[in-house]
């Protein structure tokens, strides 16, 4: 361990925890007020035991997130795919969620199977099918939920998004609601807004196609929860707010 590592939260917590424990020992020995000593011991132990996560630098985490998005976005750009992304939940032919990007205007969903990446389903049904960039994040949310999102409805989808927001700290807040046959998803960024802006400078089309891992996780959560394919109809970014309008295309 280097001296510089002491600035990391996991080491800093151990330093603070140790200070509280040492203080509690001193108070146990030198004073009669056991409550303060016991409280100090409790805070020290809980700080060391609960704050156990290893952390990485924010810039490192953002670079790693970008590394998965940018090559994929370049590939989609070179293929000249014009359609917006459709988030498809697991179903009869699929064991896991997929993101389908049509080559032209969307004219219905082709048959999509697990092993297919290039889809040639006839006129208007050609495109590519990829695993959503946010699928691993949704898997982590499912582990925390201790249940599956498979068709749990809008409330269940919101619960999954709640874990993405409050459990995994992907965003500050979110709202997901049904409005006149469409679904409105709003994500308010907190720590990842600079990362989002950086990606949007690179390509604004990214958000409506595959999305970044964060948006993709929310969209995958929505489609799995509703158990229906959801197509991105509208997208808007306003300050820290991201607004998606989604359409059921089942």
């Amino acid at each position: 361990m280097k001296i510089g590592d002491l600035k990391k939260p996991e080491y800093l917590s151990k330093v603070f925890g140790t200070i509280f424990i040492v203080l509690s020992i001193y108070l146990f020995i030198s004073t009669e007020n056991m409550n303060i000593a016991f409280g100090s011991l409790f805070i020290g132990v809980i700080t060391i035991v609960i704050l156990h996560f290893k952390t990485v630098e924010k810039s490192t985490a953002e670079s790693m997130l970008e590394s998965s998005v940018l090559p994929l976005n370049d590939l989609i750009g070179d293929l000249d795919l014009k359609g917006d992304g459709v988030y498809i939940p697991p179903g009869k032919n699929l064991s896991s969620s997929r993101t389908y990007i049509p080559a032209g205007d969307f004219k219905g969903l082709p048959d999509i199977y697990d092993e297919m990446t290039i889809i040639t389903g006839g006129v208007g049904r050609t495109g590519i099918s990829l695993k959503p960039l946010g699928a691993p994040i949704v898997s982590e949310a499912k582990i925390r939920m201790e249940s599956d999102l498979d068709g749990v409805g809008i409330e269940g989808a919101r619960e999954g998004m709640g874990i993405l927001t409050h459990g995994l700290s992907l965003a500050k807040s979110f709202s997901f609601r049904e409005d006149e046959g469409q679904f409105k998803l709003r994500i308010t960024h907190d720590g990842y807004n600079d990362y989002c802006e950086g990606l949007r400078k690179y390509s604004t089309k990214l958000c409506t196609r595959t999305g970044c891992p964060i948006c993709s996780a929310y969209l995958t959560c929505a489609s799995e929860g509703m158990k229906t394919p959801l197509r991105v109809v509208e997208f808007e970014k306003e300050d820290k707010h991201i607004k998606y309008t989604l359409e059921d295309v089942s």
Binding site: N35, F42, I43, I46, V49, L51, H52, R144, G167, S169
Partner: protein, 83 residues
């Protein structure tokens, strides 16, 4: 702020509040109040915490329950004038 950081901050504030409320030397009451605090924070954060954090919080709860049982047993024995 991440969820486990919020838990630690909340427990720190709760401990400080309990110290103010139980300003005297009643260690039993103070311990039970801490147990109540950790039970509430476990319940409120159960869906958001990962399994490791949940297990570690459960360990605190088990220790707290043992402490609570010891306190209650001592009180009963006191009432029965056995000790």
């Amino acid at each position: 702020m991440m969820i486990h950081q919020k838990i630690v901050v909340a427990m720190g504030l709760w401990t400080s509040l309990c110290l103010i409320l139980v300003s005297g030397h009643n260690l039993e009451l103070f311990g039970i109040l801490l147990l109540i605090g950790i039970l509430i924070s476990r319940e409120l954060t159960s869906t958001y915490t990962d399994l490791i954090t949940g297990d570690r919080m459960d360990t605190f709860i088990y220790i707290g329950i043992i402490f609570f049982v010891a306190v209650v047993s001592r009180r009963i024995l006191n009432i029965l004038e056995i000790i």
